[in-house]
């Protein structure tokens, strides 16, 4: 499903975020991406939905080389990938409901479908009492769940989450992880960047560890 072949990423400012990374993630896998801050986790995820392209090497997602993919195909790649951003990327002037339904509108779902799917994920994430609040009126944990709801609402084949539990208390973090596991059990490939070692240990899933942009250990933790 996701293949990195000798991927190196140098940012224009000179920072080397990834060095010769080769890794495969199969369809339906649940993978933790770990490593200290600055290890290249975010960069790794951004390569997958083509927010960045490799400086050298190849990234293949769902059998498509993302670097050489024509620009007009990129939106369709992204529709297969739900992303929970580390900084959430919520729109401050849209309500909880609007922030999530926005994603369904963009891909042109029928109105009724937009509403029903949005209600569904908000319900699932326990945000149905917050529909008409604005992001600044809800807690950090609720903002986090808004971001997750938006990533899930289009039923992606792949779910990428960048430190999704960083703002949550342990109980809620545990609950969210359970949710990711459920989603994964329905066939969605899940990659979660985190440096929460306890969490990783508890979940007992495959771990890809990065250190200074290099793979330091791969396989089950």
């Amino acid at each position: 499903m996701i293949q990195f072949f000798h991927v190196t990423k140098k940012y224009t400012q000179g920072a080397v975020a990834l060095t010769d990374v080769s890794v495969h993630v199969e369809k339906g896998e649940f993978v933790f991406l770990t490593g200290p801050s600055g290890a290249g986790k975010t960069t790794f995820l951004r390569m997958i939905f083509r927010d960045e392209v490799p400086s050298s090497g190849q990234v293949v997602v769902n059998n498509q080389d993302v670097a050489t993919m024509p620009a007009r195909r990129v939106p369709y790649l992204r529709r297969q990938i739900g992303v929970v951003f580390q900084d959430f990327k919520l729109l401050p002037r849209k309500t909880v409901f609007e922030n999530v339904s926005f994603a369904t509108q963009v891909i042109g779902l029928p109105r009724r479908e937009q509403r029903s799917r949005t209600f569904q994920v908000l319900e699932m994430l326990g945000l149905n009492h917050r529909l008409h609040n604005f992001p600044e009126q809800v807690s950090g944990g609720e903002q986090q769940r808004m971001a997750i709801a938006r990533a899930l609402v289009n039923r992606p084949l792949i779910l990428l989450a960048d430190e999704p539990t960083g703002n949550l208390d342990p109980d809620l973090a545990q609950e969210i992880m359970g949710l990711f596991r459920d989603i994964n059990s329905h066939g969605t490939t899940v990659i979660i960047a985190t440096h929460d070692r306890d969490m990783i240990r508890r979940m007992g899933r495959r771990v890809i560890a990065l250190d200074h942009g290099r793979i330091s250990a791969a396989g089950a933790a």
């Binding site: 939905f49 927010d51 620009a71 007009r72 939106p75 369709y76 790649l77 992204r78 529709r79 992303v83 951003f85 990327k89 729109l91 926005f102 994603a103 509108q105 963009v106 891909i107 042109g108 029928p110 109105r111 938006r150 289009n154």
Partner: protein, 301 residues
């Protein structure tokens, strides 16, 4: 409802919201396009009226074929036959020496004794040729003149081409000047509209970034900006036409206009409706072009 129809509806709704989110900017765009088209329209109006004048003038253009003193009746008959068979000539009138003298004496009563004093009748006989509309352009007239210049019995062929050509040249100049200034102002309008599009894009760059990240196509994102610019251009074009109409009315009412026949030459009629429509359409086109250029330059949209 189809996906395309939904996208269209979304685009229209977004456009409408966008237009009203910052009415001052929308107005600025419309005004920039409106002003450039108004000025262009003024020149077109002038050129259009002058053109009508030149055409009317041209309708009176005749060719005079002066005959030699020693032209024989046979030669006259041949000429008459040739005129009759020339498809460019609608009518050929014979003006005898006597007719010519009488005409002179009628046109210049104070000089009526002059011919007698210079001895005999100095006026040559001639044919006056009426030229069909299709051949009344400078080339057509030239061709007719040349073809009879050398005919037996012909002294000289003359026509008042100088005038017509000079006027046609002037109309051309007015038109070119109009296009030139119009193009310059249109460029200024493009820059203005482009800048307002860029401002609107900047104001919404967060939203646009997220739209892209969740899989919006470029068309879905750009559509509302382009439609808004088209609407502003259309409004500008319509404003320009309305402004021209008002200007024209006002000019028509002035004393100078009524007292001076020249004014009816330069501003007698309003633009034909297809020209007015075209001006409005150009406004919409300008808006779209500005948006496309601006969005392309913004690159990240």
């Amino acid at each position: 409802m189809g996906r395309l129809l939904r996208a269209l509806r979304h685009c229209i709704r977004e456009t409408w919201d966008g237009l009203w989110r910052n009415p001052a900017l929308s107005l600025l765009s419309a005004a920039a396009i409106g002003i450039s088209l108004y000025v262009l329209g003024l020149f077109l109006l002038l050129a259009f009226n002058l053109n009508r004048f030149v055409e009317a003038l041209g309708r009176e253009t005749q060719i005079q074929v002066y005959l030699r003193e020693d032209a024989t009746p046979d030669q006259l008959r041949t000429l008459r036959a040739e005129f009759a068979s020339d498809p460019a000539i609608s009518e050929a009138r014979y003006v005898s020496k006597t007719d010519a003298r009488q005409r002179f004496q009628r046109d210049f009563p104070t000089l009526r004794d002059l011919p007698g004093r210079v001895g005999g009748n100095p006026f040559p006989a001639s044919f006056e040729l009426e030229v069909l509309d299709a051949s009344r352009d400078p080339e057509g007239l030239d061709r007719i003149a040349k073809s009879y210049q050398k005919a037996p019995g012909v002294e000289e062929v003359r026509y008042d081409r100088g005038w017509t050509e000079r006027l046609a040249g002037m109309v051309g100049l007015v038109q070119k000047g109009g296009y030139g200034i119009g193009a310059l102002l249109a460029f200024a309008a493009l820059v203005t509209v482009g800048a307002t599009v860029r401002l609107t894009v900047l104001a919404r760059r967060e939203e646009i970034e997220i739209m892209k990240l969740v899989g919006a196509t470029a068309g879905f994102i750009r559509g509302p900006f382009m439609l808004a610019a088209a609407a502003q251009g259309l409004a500008g074009g319509a404003l320009a036409v309305a402004g021209l109409r008002v200007t024209h009315r006002l000019v028509e009412r002035t004393e100078i206009f009524r007292a001076n026949p020249f004014m009816s030459i330069v501003a007698g009629r309003f633009l034909p409706s297809d020209a007015a429509l075209a001006l409005t359409a150009v406004g919409a086109a300008l808006g779209i072009v500005a948006a496309v250029l601006s969005l392309r330059r913004a690159g990240s949209v």
